[in-house]
Symmetry: C2
Subunit: 270 residues, 2 copies
């Protein structure tokens, strides 16, 4: 079992609100040669999530020390962090003074789902993501939509699923953000009402600025996406992965994703 609970026991109280209500956050971090890739971006998003959900943020010095200790145990792989609002009495109302639960676990690199494919054929899933600006962007624990998306994807002949929101906006893959290249313009969905603002998405946007590429966060329909020259997916573990086709339509270009991989020091396996 890869899981352990730093500073506590290796099992969770049954009254933990993370279990009861999905009342918490998580981060999934790539371990490369003993370092946590994009650590600062992960910590920023976690802090934003704590602020949005009104969960007390963990002490930063202590958290960094615990993350470093975890990374030392598994130099190449995945470090998963779960932070819940902690235990509480029954009922949706949070306790006045929550005592958050922090769970860190490490997973060897072979455990990365689908890590062997360097590009993917995708289909648009029938499932749509509910829209709620109050919860969009942060990586909270309520992920049944993504679970249902994976169940649907299993029934389809495709490597990856494209998820739209209820109002028909492109959001991304089942566990990734999406970029589309139109001529010299790079666009990624705004992630204002559904989806997660990924750390690799942020790193790519920053790299575009640094590399003199034109990038914009915009709403995008599936029809608009199908007019792209190049499409790629990003997340903290896979890095940048090209989309070879969507619903049978091929995207011929690879130049921008190759360029961005070089700028970010990524290989095709993430």
């Amino acid at each position: 079992v890869p899981g352990y609970l730093r500073g506590q026991t290796d099992r969770l109280e049954l009254t933990d609100r993370g279990l009861a209500y999905g009342d918490g956050l998580f981060e999934t971090m790539a371990l490369r040669d003993g370092r946590i890739r994009l650590l600062e971006l992960h910590l920023q998003r976690l802090a934003e999530g704590c602020a949005r959900l009104q969960i007390p943020a963990p002490d930063q010095t202590e958290l960094r020390a615990q993350l470093a200790a975890s990374a030392a145990e598994c130099p190449n792989g995945t470090l998963k962090l779960i932070l819940t609002r902690g235990s509480g009495p029954r009922g949706y109302a949070p306790p006045e003074r929550p005592e958050p639960t922090l769970i860190l676990s490490v997973h060897p690199r072979a455990d990365v789902p689908g890590s062997r494919r360097s590009e993917v054929d995708a289909v648009t899933l029938r499932l749509r993501l509910g829209e709620n600006p109050e919860l969009a962007g942060i990586k909270h624990l309520c992920r049944l939509e993504q679970v249902m998306a994976q169940l649907e994807l299993k029934q389809r002949r495709a490597d990856e699923g494209l998820l739209l929101s209820m109002s028909g906006k492109v959001i991304g893959g089942t566990s990734s953000n999406l970029f589309a290249v139109f001529g010299r313009q790079i666009r990624t969905p705004l992630i204002a009402a559904a989806g997660i603002r990924g750390v690799m998405r942020r790193a790519v946007l920053d790299a575009c600025v640094g590399g003199g590429l034109r990038a914009a966060e915009v709403d995008m329909s599936r029809d608009e996406l199908l007019a792209a020259d190049e499409v790629f997916l990003t997340n903290a573990l896979i890095g940048i992965r090209s989309v070879a086709s969507l619903d049978g339509q091929a995207f011929p270009e690879r130049g921008t994703s190759l360029h961005l991989r070089r700028l970010l020091g990524l290989d095709e396996h993430g």
Copy 2:
């Protein structure tokens, strides 16, 4: 600590998908004189949830025996059931053969949040509920919206919050369904895109049929609701609770809720 894990240990594996993704269901049942009120309706909803989420349903004979044993430990109070898809490897994709986790806990009656108010003054919350027909109706574990609603309610001067969906439809209270009476017509929101179809809601609708009352499940806006003569909330624990006012506007009638309480054998404390 009121929690225990029947047939297993008293703590949860850290790899449980209920914690990781809210990948599971729950039921909150009223224990009255050693019996589980509305047990059949709870079991029906749980079965519907299992079918919708493709979680293997627990063996019914075994489940009933475990519920009965729990009820015997706490004749008057609350019996909470959590059923998750069980442990699995990291990633949203469920394991091929899930082994669900069943958690039962009993809570003495005094633990019912807000159980002492026989009627409530409500305000419309700013937070809206995301809409997703794939997940609406069932009592899944992804309840951050309800947690955020409680955080907002704490800042408002009111006993209870009214929740609308993103498209402006009335859904219910923060943990209850809503009924509104217009003359001799009883209406309750459809619960097709957001919210939970409560067991007490079902029991009230059934009692209306049995008692010759006209009841309908319909979409309803806040403006339409404000035109009601009588409004009440329902859930498995509170039974039927009158709404004295919404956003300062009083609802004068109590006749239908009193009649329904008698039909269902409920008192004003649920």
